[in-house]
């Protein structure tokens, strides 16, 4: 589904990603871990199409199609979803109105009519119940004054509403309390099927108890320096990153 080859990218004169290779197949869950500043969020936002970064080498293919010339919205229309590490506040637009607009713009791009209002309401109801989100919450301005955990839960609400092919969750676990983590993780699991895929970026093995990865990658200084199965996450939790650094020398 996602095929990334030798991806180099940066901003101004600074190289941030230095040759990333990654292949994600339908139905898989990949975890990316790595120290602060390694380039995890940069990697995620480049897949989502952030134009601040310049891709200097390599390619990103989604279902065989090169994404490099596509705008962020076109990528979203093709099923890419990024749950932001720092969701942005949009005062004056309610959660409901925002998600309605996002869904209908996506449908329009796919040549579909607007989602009928009744169906939209029903979907909002189902998803907010699944994620244990208070309805009152949905009429508040998007992310404005939301607590850290509320913002993250709201990201997953949007993900569930948009039902993407490829979801990238950038530190969705940080800020969530223990119960919320369980609710959000089970929400993500419910959305999984053999046709979609998830990339979870996290610092903590704990999340991976709930969203169990097929592969774990270690991203350091702009490169994937080690890949393994879920056991690798336990090892990192226990030993940190120094031993990998040492091994690389």
């Amino acid at each position: 589904m996602l095929n990334i080859k030798n991806l180099h990218a940066g901003v101004d004169q600074k190289n941030i990603l230095k040759g990333i290779n990654l292949e994600v197949n339908p139905g898989e869950i990949h975890a990316i871990m790595g120290p602060n500043g390694a380039g995890k969020s940069t990697f995620a936002s480049i897949i989502a199409g952030k134009e601040d970064f310049e891709v200097t080498q390599g390619s990103i293919l989604l279902e065989g199609e090169d994404l490099s010339d596509l705008s962020p919205e076109e990528r979203a229309h093709k099923g890419v979803f990024l749950s932001f590490q720092y969701p942005v506040e949009i005062p004056g637009v309610t959660v409901t109105n925002f998600i309605k607009t996002a869904i209908n713009q996506t449908r329009k791009a796919q040549g579909l009519e607007d989602m009928p209002a009744g169906e939209m309401l029903q979907k909002i109801k189902t998803v907010s119940e699944m994620l244990d989100i208070d309805r009152k919450f949905l009429s508040r301005s998007l992310n404005e004054g939301f607590s850290g955990g509320e913002k993250k839960r709201n990201e997953i609400f949007q993900m569930a509403m948009l039902d993407p092919k490829l979801a990238i969750l950038d530190e969705t676990d940080s800020g969530l309390d223990i119960d919320a983590l369980r609710i959000v993780a089970s929400g993500v699991n419910k959305l999984r099927n053999e046709k979609n895929a998830v990339i979870v970026i996290t610092h903590y093995q704990r999340l991976l108890d709930h969203i169990v990865p097929d592969f774990v990658h270690v991203l350091m200084d702009g490169k994937i320096v080690k890949s393994g199965t879920k056991e690798l996450a336990y090892e990192l939790e226990e030993k940190g990153y120094d031993w990998i650094k040492e091994a690389l020398k």
Partner: protein, 437 residues
């Protein structure tokens, strides 16, 4: 001959034919003298530092049309709030159009200034209120000297007017160089309520200058909600001066939607003469090209326990220029005041400019006064966030600008009007928004 001299000499001719009683005659004579003394405002005066009328005030301008123009309803239909029943006072090139209007004398007067100025039954109100709150210099004096038409609205005690009143001024362009002088008087007696929507609309590409003057008197416990739609063609210019005098426990709000015009200058002035008065001023400015919008506000707090709220939002594209000059003047009697002023601006193009200047003069010691001003661009992170969720860039920009202006629209009390303004804004942004804010 300079324009000023031309106007002064034409006053003599008009003076004869208006044939008014001596009170009014005296007012007009004094006004033309004041105009002669002060002339048109220039950039030398502090209040006009950023707005020049020079290019508008050319010598061909005349005050009265030589011929009577007519318009057909179908050509102006879209400028009315047609999904809502309203009273209508309509003028075409400054002349009353009975055919487009729907006035009333039942339990109140929603009619014409020209009858109010000449008929005996209005004499008492005119003597008490006409020209009693607008300072008499420059453009106001010019208006007072020449004004013969406009809206006259008198709402007696305890009357809640059941539907809004629309004041529409159409300009046909049949004559290409008019400087119109509409004059409105709104008197709202104790505990009465009224909603007014005012619009100036040019119907052709000819340049027109409108020098409008409105006086509003809000008696104790009365409430007035005034909405100004300024969405004219880029050749039309408007100087809109409004003076509101409030008694105790009254509420008055003025919303100004400045969405189009060559030059728009709003002089909006509130005088709070009674305790517990509340004044609300809100504005959305959304302009492009070489358009210019200047908001000049004043709240004069004279009595204790009063409030004033000002919230102006501006979005400027291309070479558009904006000015916000908000003055809050607090007399020493105006204790326990709560005055709030906010002016937020977004410059879409790097050639657009805004000059924002708050002025606070406070002589009371127990007051809460706050003001804030921001000038920025659209939030790029928010744009990326929205686009990453599938919202097209254009829509995302539109939505952000909508959101930016949203809280000003929130206080519009007429749902049909709110919808209309929403649509006008969407149209200007070139976006389709699937919901009303």
């Amino acid at each position: 001959m300079e324009l000023k001299e031309k106007f002064i000499s034409s006053f003599l001719a008009v003076d004869d034919y208006l044939n008014e009683d001596s009170v009014l005659h005296d007012i007009r004579s004094a006004a033309i003298k004041n105009f002669e003394a002060s002339g048109f405002p220039t950039k030398k005066s502090e209040a006009w530092k950023y707005t020049s009328l020079k290019s508008l005030l050319h010598n061909d301008l005349s005050i009265f049309p030589r011929q009577e123009a007519t318009v057909e309803f179908k050509d102006v239909r879209k400028y009315f709030l047609h999904d809502l029943d309203t009273y209508k006072i309509v003028f075409v090139d400054g002349q009353y159009s009975a055919f487009l209007s729907s006035t009333t004398h039942e339990g109140m007067d929603v009619c014409l200034m020209s009858s109010a100025l000449t008929k005996d039954k209005y004499k008492a109100v005119i003597e008490n209120y006409f020209n009693k709150v607008a300072p008499q210099d420059g453009l106001n004096a010019l208006n007072t000297a020449f004004a013969k038409e406009g809206a006259y609205i008198y709402i007696p005690k305890n009357k809640e007017v059941e539907k809004p009143i629309e004041i529409l001024n159409f300009y046909t362009g049949a004559e290409s160089s008019l400087m119109l002088q509409p004059r409105n008087l709104v008197v709202v007696e104790e505990n009465a309520q009224v909603q007014i929507i005012e619009r100036h609309q040019s119907l052709s590409g000819h340049a027109v200058v409108t020098n409008a003057l409105t006086e509003v008197f809000v008696s104790q416990r009365a409430q007035v909600d005034y909405y100004k739609i300024q969405n004219d063609r880029p050749e039309a210019s408007l100087i809109d001066s409004t003076y509101v005098k409030q008694d105790r426990d009254s509420v008055c709000s003025v919303h100004t939607f400045s969405l189009g015009g060559q030059l728009i200058r709003n002089n909006l002035n509130f005088y709070q003469h009674g305790a517990n008065a509340m004044s609300i001023m809100k504005g959305i400015t959304l302009i492009e090209g070489k358009q210019h919008v200047d908001h000049n506000t004043l709240v004069h707090h004279i009595a204790p326990n009063c409030e004033s709220h000002q919230d102006y939002k501006g979005v400027y594209d291309d070479n558009a220029t904006g000015v916000f000059n908000g003055k809050i003047y607090v007399e020493k009697e105006a204790q326990k005041l709560n005055a709030f002023q906010q002016n937020n601006n977004i410059l879409i193009s790097d050639k657009a400019t805004i000059n924002s200047k708050p002025q606070l003069e406070i002589f009371a010691d127990d007051v809460k006064c706050s003001h804030g001003c921001t000038i920025g661009q659209l939030d790029e992170d928010a744009l990326f966030y929205m686009r990453a969720r599938g919202i097209n860039e254009k829509e995302a920009r539109g939505l952000l600008m909508y959101a930016f202006a949203n809280n000003v629209l929130e206080s519009v009390k007429i749902p049909e009007l709110k919808k209309r303004i929403n649509r006008l804004i969407a149209l200007k942004m070139g976006v389709q928004i699937g919901f009303d804010l």
